[in-house]
């Protein structure tokens, strides 16, 4: 974990509400795909957690959706501006799970962390099959980026305006995979939990106070005891998840 200033080198919209920001700085403490950074923003008390989407040497990519004050402020920033980040937060995905064929399931802004994950899985020689879910055609992003990496990509839209109609779990019984990794809104995670037949890893979100394990703001119960989403998470194994109510 480290607190460092990053400099924005690019900040551009991918869709009406989703932006891609590239930053340069000390990325030394970022060790795994699925980790996140916690961003300090002017005039806001708490930092905002955003997943690591990509990493190239000193260059960090974040993909974020404008949903409120903090993300709106980020969308208005330009290259050259500095951002104060806590880096290297969270456990990240486990790349050592044995598999030849890996399934990634992402929904909306749950997709970004799967990008670095896909790169690293491909580098291990695994076959990576990606299912990306959106509400509508105009929300789609990163379809081509995943293809360019060499993944098999299927896009789903809830209203059928592009790709296959429905959810990323549609027709999952016909898919062949040894392990899966997923990130997205909780209803999607629950559906993935029900529809998958192998082991896999889920990345969760929770409102955070600190993001580095100090406040107990993000605790959840698991089969193996309580865990802090910011520290022992955000990635949990399927087998340890306890859904509340």
């Amino acid at each position: 974990m480290k607190e460092t200033l990053f400099t924005i080198i690019e900040n551009r919209p991918l869709t009406d509400t989703v932006y891609l920001m590239r930053l340069s700085g000390d990325t030394g403490d970022i060790t795994a795909a699925g980790q996140f950074v916690n961003i300090r923003l002017d005039g806001l008390f708490l930092r905002r957690p955003i997943s690591v989407c990509d990493l190239n040497g000193q260059e960090l990519t974040l993909v974020y959706k404008v949903v409120g004050k903090g993300t709106a402020q980020m969308a208005g920033m330009v290259s050259g501006e500095a951002l104060d980040l806590l880096t290297g937060l969270g456990n990240g995905y486990d790349l050592t799970l044995p598999a030849e064929r890996v399934l990634l399931l992402g929904g909306g802004v749950g997709i970004p962390p799967l990008y670095l994950l896909a790169k690293r899985l491909l580098a291990q020689g695994k076959t990576v099959c990606v299912r990306l879910g959106f509400n509508h055609a105009d929300e789609i992003f990163f379809e081509n980026e995943f293809r360019a990496l060499g993944c098999e990509v299927t896009v789903f839209t809830v209203d059928g305006s592009a790709g296959e109609k429905g959810f990323v779990t549609n027709g999952l019984d016909r898919e062949r995979y040894d392990v899966f990794y997923t990130c997205g809104p909780e209803p999607m995670l629950r559906a993935v939990y029900r529809s998958t037949v192998t082991s896999g890893q889920f990345s969760f979100e929770e409102r955070m106070g600190c993001g580095f394990g100090a406040c107990m703001g993000c605790s959840c119960r698991t089969i193996t005891g309580y865990k802090r989403i910011c520290r022992e998470g955000p990635v949990l194994m399927k087998e340890e998840i306890l859904w509340e109510d």
Partner: protein
């Protein structure tokens, strides 16, 4: 004594800066950010007799210049704290530490304090009678002078270490509560705990916090906290530990001028893990700027 050192109930602190309970875990999370031995001491997470998971999430809400928390005293219980957390803590912190205790009955306060008092690492007991998060819990004790006196007496009957009573600001007359604690034998007072607060999400029209309400703290509460520290410090003769919204060396000096012997820092640690170190590092220069030779001489400097 150094320029920054103060004496809190008979124990010398290298400086008056103390991370507040619930915002510093058991210290070792922060030891990954800096050598926490630079601190005066720290107050570890509120401990109860039995383990507690705490409240459902969301437990955190953002506010203007502050935050609301409704963690609900999540902690592994006093036995696990003594068996696991204190030994881990000893690896990263070699000074006496402040043990923060919560309870739901006089017996529970007494027993938890008795067990923690016996730990050589523990320098002070800080008895929280104010946590607003727990149904039927701390609130009842902290808002009634009589109950505060009884809790203090119960704890004092088993304690060999100095006992600080940590007060809730959610009362009409903070001075009467502080006096009740002193009547019960308190060796010091620490205040303020969080102010009861609430936020509503406009999209869902539901409270942001699952528990509906929670404790408000952070920079926004500083003037309220300072006022209460001032009132209490002028009404009692025991040392006062001031806290609430402190985030800079200037805030520390202001709290001490109001009457605080030492100063705790809470929410600021969550936003900036290095906050306490930065404040300590900034103190000498800030003192120079205001012509302060030693911190000890300014305690209660404003009448």
């Amino acid at each position: 004594m150094g320029r920054l050192s103060v004496n809190l109930c008979g124990i010398e602190l290298d400086n008056p800066v103390i991370p507040a309970s619930g915002t510093f875990g058991y210290g070792y999370e922060f030891a990954e950010w800096y050598d926490i031995n630079v601190l005066g001491t720290f107050s570890f997470k509120g401990t109860t007799l039995e383990p507690r998971f705490g409240n459902p999430t969301p437990r955190i809400a953002e506010c203007t210049a502050g935050m609301i928390n409704a963690v609900g005293l999540q902690n592994p219980g006093v036995k696990a704290v003594i068996e696991h957390e204190l030994p881990e803590m000893a690896k990263v912190f070699r000074k006496p530490v402040m043990a923060n205790v919560s309870g739901f009955s006089l017996d529970e306060y007494r027993e938890t304090c008795r067990l923690l008092d016996a730990q050589p690492q523990v320098g002070w007991l800080e008895v929280n009678v104010s946590c607003p998060n727990v149904h039927g819990g701390g609130m009842a004790f902290g808002t009634d002078p009589d109950a505060v006196r009884r809790v203090t007496e119960a704890v004092k009957s088993v304690a060999t270490k100095p006992v600080l009573l940590k007060l809730s600001p959610n009362v009409t007359d903070i001075v009467s509560i502080a006096k009740a604690a002193v009547d019960g034998g308190a060796d010091g007072i620490s205040l303020i705990n969080t102010l009861l607060g609430m936020r509503i999400d406009l999209k869902t029209r539901r409270p942001v916090i699952a528990n509906k309400m929670g404790g408000f703290s952070g920079s926004a509460v500083f003037p309220v906290a300072l006022r209460m520290v001032y009132q209490v410090a002028h009404a009692v003769s025991v040392p006062v530990v001031g806290m609430g919204g402190v985030s800079s060396p200037e805030n520390v000096i202001e709290m001490m001028l109001a009457g605080a012997t030492a100063v705790q820092i809470g929410a600021a640690n969550l936003v900036d893990p290095m906050a306490c170190k930065r404040i300590i590092d900034g103190l000498p220069e800030t003192m120079d700027r205001y012509g302060i030779a030693t911190l000890n001489e300014i305690i209660g400097g404003v009448c």
